[in-house]
Amino acid sequence: MTDAFIVLENVSKRYSRGGETLQVLDEFNLSIPESDFVALMGPSGSGKTTILNLVGGLDSCDSGVVTVAGAPVSAMSRRELPAWRSRHVGFVFQSFNLLPVLTAQENVMLPLQLTPLSGPERRQQAEFALDIVGLSDRATHRPTQLSGGEEQRVAIARAIATDPDVIIADEPTGDLDRKSADGVLEILARLNSELGKTILMVTHDPLAAKKARRLLELDKGVLVEDQLQEGA
């Protein structure tokens, strides 16, 4: 476990809803090496998204330890987490979550506001990220002027703009047609293989999961399958 890049050690997480307590993860353990591409599958409520949120520092565990690239994420305070996220994690959401009032380029530049880069440098970095996802020609378009696939590619460009260590993708193809989904998965695969990004992706789509190098299947917070995929 010492050379693992993402580590979840004896992690427990409960949610309280409507007076009921739901134990999503109980003493859960997981280890992911650097530059891996992992797909998380499982039925709703199995704990997939909870794992993403804990790794991405969007949520905190009740007990246990979460470490990413050696950083003790679970020990960080609410004040420390945003700065850490901005430097180390890129998020891709199912519903894209672009800001509708901003252009594609401005959306991509948004996380760069938190870096010491100058305005022209931020612009250049955003252009580079958009180029990687093949949307240089759509830089000035607003989200409403883009297709779903294009929106998700802009979201991926935003996720990689700060050159993070980890990309967390929560059902990135859930709202897309097959063709657009394939395009998005192709980009994620390239980011993993060519740029060495560690990718943790939740999906319900078996075809999307096949793009990952490793497939983890969860059920009620328990890892029921962990397999390396050939040809991914």
């Binding site: 949520d59 945003p82 996220r85 901005s86 979550n97 938190l114």
Partner: protein, 393 residues
């Protein structure tokens, strides 16, 4: 699109609120201006019974004899209109020479007969008053108003509402000069004419009315104890045919405002309630806007921004919207000032949008924007990123 519409409507609401704020303050200040600029050393002697009861002309000599009195003039409401009932303006019967001497610091005679202007105009007007009992001076407003357009030398027939002539006709007045007010409480749409023109007509039977003075305006000597002079005048007539009440001109002006039933308080209460409602609706709109943007706050948090960033953005947005709305309201208030003065007419002729009011409007808009932004943005601080991202707005 929905957001643009909402922001547009919010801007309009704030514009209306700020315009209303300026308008109401303008009215209240306009009402109070007459009191502010009224003299505290000039006295008004009126009937103790009612303002509408005239005092005898015989009182004038007695008033003049009181220690501390420098000068007095009759001041009697005439009440007539020019051609149409809508063409109504104030006319007062006065002792012309005394009136002009009394108001040297309050009005300036701009022009007398034969185009005489400058310091000689006053003397020329006094001569004209002496030579023609129908002589009258008018404010520049009556000269400039298209409905009247009176000029020096014109004979102006006024149709009486109070004092009918025996022949059923109009009273003729000859314009002998224009005056310009030097103090804001004095209107520029008033006509002053000889009181003896009226009284002689009543005496000869040319017209119907009682020979009287209306009220007396009294200038006191410098350093004279004004309150004591007033008391002496009232004591002198305590057993007379008409008991008197002598008050300062400032108090007299206040009396007219209070006669409207404490209008400033009324306007302040109603206006305040309306403003309060509009301001609350703006805050509510901003809070709705905030609730619909919780997910955006979640996105920003996921990207690494701290929760306070979203709160500050909403405060900035609230401030911007409020200042744009406030600016539009101020522009509306300033550009409609002339129109409002015409609409309000003589009742509130000192309506003005002053720099102080503009500053108040800017401050109010700013506070509104900050409060609305805070009310909408503070809840963002409570949300964890996962909760915010789950929000559907």
């Amino acid at each position: 699109m929905a957001r643009k519409t909402r922001n547009g409507l919010t801007v309009v609401s704030i514009s209306v609120a700020v315009f209303l704020l300026c308008f109401l303050i303008g009215i209240v200040q306009g009402l109070e201006a007459s009191v502010r600029s009224a003299s505290a050393t000039r006295l008004v002697t009126q009937s103790a019974v009612s303002l509408f009861v005239s005092l005898p002309t015989s009182y004038q000599q007695k008033i003049d004899s009181v220690d501390g009195v420098y000068l007095s003039t009759k001041f009697r409401w005439f009440g007539a209109y020019y051609q149409e009932r809508e063409n109504f303006f104030a006319q007062f019967a006065v002792d012309p020479n005394r009136f002009l001497d009394m108001y040297t610091k309050d009005i300036e005679i701009l022009e007398g007969p034969d185009g005489i202007t400058g310091p000689e105009a006053r003397v020329a007007v006094q001569k004209a008053f002496a030579s023609d009992r129908r002589a009258a001076i008018i404010g520049t407003g009556l000269r400039d108003d298209e409905r009247y357009g009176f000029r020096i030398g014109d004979t102006v027939p006024l149709i009486p509402l109070l004092y009918q002539r025996a022949d059923g006709g109009a009273w003729d007045f000859v314009i002998v000069g224009y005056y310009q007010p030097l103090k804001e409480r004095i209107p520029d749409t008033t006509m002053y004419f000889r009181a003896d023109y009226l009284n002689e007509a009543f005496e000869s039977g040319e017209a119907y009315g009682d020979i009287a003075a209306g009220v007396y305006y009294i200038n006191t000597l410098d350093n004279a104890p004004v309150e004591q002079v007033a008391e002496e005048i009232d004591e002198m007539f305590a057993n007379g045919p008409q008991r008197t009440q002598t008050i300062t001109e400032a108090a007299f002006a206040s009396f007219f405002i209070s006669a409207m039933g404490n209008l400033p308080l009324f306007l302040g209460t109603i206006g305040g309630a309306v403003l309060f409602s509009i301001f609350f609706s703006v805050v509510n709109t901003m809070m709705i806007s905030g609730r619909q943007r919780i997910q955006e706050a979640g996105i920003l948090q996921a990207l690494g921004f701290r929760p306070i960033t979203s709160t500050l953005l909403l405060i900035y947005e609230g401030l911007l919207i409020s200042l744009i709305g406030g600016g539009c309201g101020i522009v509306l208030a300033v550009t409609t000032e002339g129109l409002m003065i015409r609409m309000l007419g003589e009742s509130i002729r000192n309506y003005h949008v002053t720099p102080d009011m503009v500053m108040l409007a800017v401050a109010t808009s700013s506070i509104l924007g900050i409060v609305a932004g805070l009310a909408a943005g503070l809840p963002f601080l409570r949300y964890r990123p996962t909760e915010a991202l789950r929000s559907i707005g």
